[in-house]
């Protein structure tokens, strides 16, 4: 059976005002303002570990009229960016 990668956020504090997301990284002390979709994803990940498939499903739910490849591309960028920022870890 293939080992699936799961993702979860590191220790963060989320605040949201309508489409505005701000998160505080409690490990580094950095503060980030996020676009609404990244914000939804990372805040969801701060509450539970999610597999790649689940993240794709969440993105599909969030967006209307997008293709599968656009979703995949966004998720790829999201994971890369947020792992680099130290906000996301895979296990």
């Amino acid at each position: 059976m293939t080992q699936l990668t799961n993702y979860k956020a590191t220790k963060i504090r989320c605040r949201q005002w309508q489409d505005d997301y701000v998160i505080y990284d409690q490990l580094s002390g950095d503060t980030h303002v996020l676009d609404v979709v990244s914000g939804e994803l990372i805040c969801a990940l701060s509450k539970q570990t999610m597999s790649r498939a689940k993240l794709l499903a969440l993105l599909t739910e969030l967006y209307v009229d997008v293709t599968e490849s656009e979703i995949e591309s966004y998720l790829f960028d999201f994971i890369e960016k947020f792992e680099l920022l130290g906000l996301l870890i895979s296990e």
Binding site: L34, S73, D77
Partner: protein, 303 residues
């Protein structure tokens, strides 16, 4: 006030059924956008540097800006070049010539005498901009002569063994320490291996031996516990060299040296000497930022 619940995505009701919001993609699914405010060294920024912005104090070098300090490895004695800007100003130099030490043996019915004359120079160095003694630099050069039945057969500079002496021998142990059995050395251009049992042949000519004509080492230095607010008895120079043994002390000393070293041409270090001492005091008289240790915090002020 319309307070959003923490960590909950916005939801709305449609036809009595709660649905997640959905976003129109626009001209394509945009890449993640992040604007960041990086954490900065809170301690120094709240005091040393920002105080200059708030106070407009013109007498602080680089008013309104501070710099991070040098890493422990930069201050480490093994990385120091004498006379460079990061310390090592010679205070005084002394020179002594150690009395002759000899080894003698008989082989093949002949009497051999190996004589070593050791010239030792000591220079005391301080970390520039401070009163802290970096250490005494001892440099030894040795000249050797070898006689057989009283007649000179070899003389010249002694070349230290490559497989070196790592301790700092003095006095009567000097010779036996310099010439352990099996040590290779040269006299002039002739290579020798010294055998500890002279009866079977004290010297044999070796194929090769390399080394340096002098050796030098640092010792001493300001004792850690002589700097108020620091504890422990390790000497400053040796402490910086033993990073894995004294990680905390190495960072503390490096922070102290960064704070004390303030040339006019660069912005000052984020902490002052008093602040470093306050952080390192037992109990501390300066408050650390939350969620960090002294070692980690001090390391974050170096780059």
């Amino acid at each position: 006030m319309n307070k959003q619940k923490l960590n909950e995505p916005a939801a709305h009701k449609e036809d009595g059924v709660e649905k997640r919001r959905r976003f129109i993609k626009g001209a394509g699914l945009a890449a993640p956008v992040v604007l960041s405010l990086a954490n900065r060294s809170a301690f120094g920024a709240a005091k040393g540097c920002l105080s200059q912005q708030v106070s407009g104090n013109i007498s602080e070098a680089g008013a309104g800006s501070c710099s991070s300090g040098s890493l422990v490895t930069v201050w480490n004695p093994t990385n120091q070049t004498i006379g460079t800007t990061k310390g090592n100003i010679a205070l005084s130099t002394t020179q002594t010539t150690t009395p002759i030490v000899t080894a003698s043996w008989t082989a093949g019915g002949k009497a051999y005498v190996l004589t070593a004359t050791i010239t030792q120079k000591g220079s005391s160095y301080i970390w520039s901009g401070t009163s802290y003694v970096y250490g005494i630099l001892t440099t030894q050069t040795i000249t050797l002569s070898l006689t057989r039945n009283g007649s000179s057969i070899e003389s010249g500079s002694f070349t230290f063994p490559m497989s070196g002496v790592t301790t700092n021998p003095t006095g009567s142990t000097l010779f036996t320490t310099l010439f352990p059995s099996g040590a290779n050395f040269t006299i002039g251009t002739t290579y020798y291996t010294y055998i500890s049992n002279p009866a079977t042949g004290a010297l044999t000519k070796a194929l090769s031996a390399v080394g340096s004509l002098s050796r030098s080492y640092f010792s001493g230095g300001t004792a850690y516990n002589s700097i108020s607010a620091f504890s422990g008895s390790s000497i400053t120079t040796s402490m910086l060299a033993n990073l894995s043994v004294a990680g905390l002390n190495a960072n503390s000393v490096a922070a102290l040296l960064n704070a004390a070293y303030t040339p006019a041409s660069t912005p000052p270090y984020v902490l002052t000497v008093a602040q470093v001492k306050g952080l390192c005091a037992t109990p501390p008289t300066e408050k650390l930022p939350p969620n960090t240790t002294l070692t980690t915090f001090l390391a974050s002020t170096f780059s």
